[in-house]
Amino acid sequence: MISRVAYAFRETWASFRRNLTLTVAAVLTSAIALLLVGATFLIQRGFSNLLVQWRGDVEMIVFVRADATPEQISFIDGSIRQASTVVDANRLEYVDKIGTYEEATRIFAGDPVTLSLLTPENVPSQFKVVPLTQDPALVRSLADQFRTLPGVEDVALAEDEFEVISTLSGFVRNVTLVMSMVLLVVAVGLIWNTIRTAMFARRREIEVMKLVGATNWFIRIPFMLEGLLQGLIGSLVACGGLWALNAAWTNGVAGFKPGTGISSLVVPSSYLTTTMLVLLATGALVGAVGSAIAASRFLDV
């Protein structure tokens, strides 16, 4: 058993060195494809940071002053519910100061100056309003009405805040997804071709192996390992690139004036780690698929 494992790794390594040019091409392609996939994830996460407070059809947010009394809050609540023809009262959500603070830590993740000024005591609480109507004018007139209520700090409308971002985010996502899918297919193809070439270079050995009764799996596994390794190395390169990209972005954003909103495009490092793990898994999968197709099709040499 040990001799078999040692054999597989020895052969994998030998073949790796023999086909260095093709291997480098396959590795780089999968690296670029995976880097794009990773960047797509991070960009989407950045956009979703911006949009986090508008999740779930929320079209209007009524911010309540931090120093509002409980009576004022319940009055505001009542006023919103009264507009039952425009507002979906069942889906009306009140986010208290602690909830708002948590939301803010996400929005201002890349803007530590602003974030440091906020505490769970000085942030506003908020009512998230889901309208029943599709008519923006109706929602807007309601917003003007709420703005005058005692204890209300401000009313924000989704229309003003994020429609542009939302459209932009969708466009960017589609473009990067299509590009990375195409590149991933190219990466599978290149790995497939590398493995096929490696098998062709060793067709005499494969012929002898088959004649002396080596099992197909025994013959295949070094080649499949080789493809897997190519995918994995590609994804490691992609992870490095993504890390560098994210670090540069985070540093660059820190230079912006606080409160411009750009800072919320910064992605937390835990999300970066998850994305890198996804890239590693995808890279391994791409390598395994490419080499498995080659190894099963070109065994009859």
Binding site: V208, K210, G213
Partner: protein, 225 residues
């Protein structure tokens, strides 16, 4: 040991390789398959080690129907037979020792077993002391001895030889035939395809003659004609 029952093999619609071939080969037999090029000798060998499957008929090896064997069992069938070819099929980047050891390593034999068996079989074929040579440093006859060592190192029940003397001069060929005779003496069944009438006439063993895919003669202690 080997039984062919009405075996027919066609490579394409108009190329009939063998037609309705039937004969038995007993354990420990030495059989020559003779006939001109294209008469179907090599095809019969390829049917026996299941590089090919017959279109009709059955091939039995050691009690198993070869063409009904599932793909996963084919390696085990092949481990019970050794193959020797006219062009040796040695791996040029491996030494003599490594070439022979390769046959054991790829079927998962432990290292100690390989270290013990390979020198023994190299001694048997008369290549002791040449373990570290590469194939291009050997004569044709020596290369064929390496390939026989590789075929025999796993002590197969059957040795299939396809024109093993085809590339060798007569005296070197004689040496190879002596070696195959020795291997046959250990109880290994030997089936050898050849059109070298000198070796057939010298050995006086069973001769199965093929002509355009049909058996035209099956004779004990035969000659080439």
């Amino acid at each position: 040991m080997i039984r062919l029952e009405h075996v027919t093999k066609r490579y394409s619609s108009d190329v009939l390789a063998v037609r309705d071939v039937s004969f038995d080969i007993g354990k420990g037999d030495f059989v020559f398959l003779v006939g001109p090029s294209g008469s179907g000798k090599s095809t019969l060998l390829r049917l026996i080690n299941r590089q090919e499957r017959p279109e009709r008929g059955n091939v039995w090896v050691a009690g198993r129907n070869v063409n009904q064997l599932p793909e996963s069992r084919v390696p085990h069938l092949r481990r019970s037979m050794g193959n020797v070819f006219q062009d040796y099929k040695l791996l040029l980047n491996k030494t003599v020792f490594e070439n022979v050891a390769f046959a054991l390593e790829v079927i998962g034999k432990p290292r100690q077993y390989v270290q013990r068996q390979v020198p023994a079989v190299l001694d048997l074929v008369g290549l002791a002391g040449k373990e570290d040579r590469f194939p291009h440093q050997l004569s044709g006859g020596e290369q064929q001895r390496v390939s026989i060592a590789r075929a025999f190192v796993n002590r197969p029940l059957i040795l299939l030889a396809d024109e093993p003397t085809g590339n060798l001069d007569p005296s070197t060929g004689e040496g190879i035939m002596g070696l195959l005779d020795d291997i046959n003496g250990t109880g290994t069944t030997v089936v050898m395809a050849t059109h070298d009438h000198r070796v057939v006439n010298a050995m006086r063993r069973r001769v199965v003659q093929l002509d355009r895919g049909v058996v035209v003669r099956d004779q004990e202690r035969g000659v080439y004609e």
